[in-house]
């Protein structure tokens, strides 16, 4: 087991970005926040909040989402890094599609519900790791030759953009997680991260983390 990341629970900390990526994508940033609890069952209040959010989120909003500033910024960034946002959807579009298909935002567990609320309210891409299973502050970097995601077959092509800690890649940027690094029922501390891209204001990123953390803390 690795040392807990040196981040403060009360305010988000800025993660590191590899120098070559800073030059290529000046707006790219990662912010992180530790919450001293894992997931669990959603409370009645959280389910009620999801329901209210579902009522507030209409089909019209889903249709117009593509040219709203924050969802558009993520779509553009997806294009810039070689992903097609119509095949691999941005987090907020994935949730919007889910809302349209199922008639509401479905409740899964406390962490997923907290992420849903944060992403839909802010439009920012937020995800979570087990804070006790990462080593040091997280950042974004391209992979070197021979690196791989734990639990996934094969090596990652060199230059693949990943969220990493001091030792290893933890997930693809906007993609699959390494096995054992995500939040599980045994998780005691959750590390929330938000990925900021060019065109997304820092205040929206902080708000997203604050929202997810406040729902988790109850």
């Amino acid at each position: 087991m690795s040392d807990p990341p040196a981040v403060d629970e009360t305010r988000p900390e800025v993660g590191w970005i590899a120098a070559e990526l800073q030059q290529e994508f000046p707006g790219l940033a990662l912010m992180q926040l530790v919450v001293e609890r894992g997931s669990g069952r959603s409370t009645k209040e959280v389910k009620e909040r999801l329901k209210l959010l579902s009522d507030r989120f209409s089909g019209g909003q889903a249709i117009n989402m593509r040219h709203q500033p924050i969802p558009w910024a993520y779509r553009v960034f997806y294009r810039h890094i070689g992903l097609d946002p119509d095949e691999q959807r941005t987090p907020v579009e994935e949730l919007a599609l889910d809302r349209m298909k199922h008639g509401g935002f479905r409740s899964h567990n406390l962490l997923d519900d907290a992420l849903t609320i944060a992403i839909v309210e802010s439009g920012v891409a937020v995800r979570a790791f087990d804070a006790d299973r990462v080593s040091g502050p997280l950042g974004i970097r391209p992979t070197a030759a021979g690196e791989q995601l734990e639990g996934r077959p094969g090596e990652l092509p060199p230059g693949t953009l990943v969220v990493a800690d001091a030792e290893r890649p933890l997930s693809l940027l906007f993609g699959a997680l390494a096995q054992g690094r995500g939040v599980s029922p045994k998780t005691k501390r959750t590390l929330l991260i938000a990925i900021q891209v060019g065109g997304v204001p820092a205040i929206a990123v902080e708000e997203a983390l604050w929202l997810a953390a406040s729902v988790l803390r109850g």
Binding site: L21, E24, I63, R66, H67, W72, I81, L83, E87
Partner: protein, 184 residues
Amino acid sequence: MPARKEFLLSAVLDRTDLTTSGPLVPATTLPETDERLARADLRGQIARLERQLGELFASAFPRRGFEWKVGAIGGPRVLSTGELERLRDALAMRLRDVQAELGRQADVEEANRGLLESMIAAPEEHRWVIVSNQDIGEPGCRHWHSRPRWGILGMLMGWWRLRISSGCPLAAGPRPPASVARSL
């Protein structure tokens, strides 16, 4: 340091793996900063095209039959200048295709609106013709149907009228059977 210079020169002259067929100076390449500026410029163009596609997506709704996907280059990674150019061109082509298709559909819808107006004015001249909301580019399930009043009698007498449907089915589905409704 002349001794060192001589040594380096002799080392190069002694090498047998150098051929004279290739250029003696390295091929001219753009400096990295210029490449980066070119990539930044291409990213700006991609962002603008993506915005236009997004606006078109919203204005095309609820019409169908559009292809929005451009295809992934493969990532996540930093794309080269050539790949960004390919992506820019693909987006521009997609935008042009969607605009052309939207224009074609708008022409058909305009013609259908004209047809609907003439159906309202003279239903007997458009017997059994149905025009739906989708035909005129509107959301919803309403349709206009030119049909005879009083069935076959109206047909024989030429009493034609335009009937407007009541809209979409209820979201909750058909009404439950009376026994179920009572228990509720």
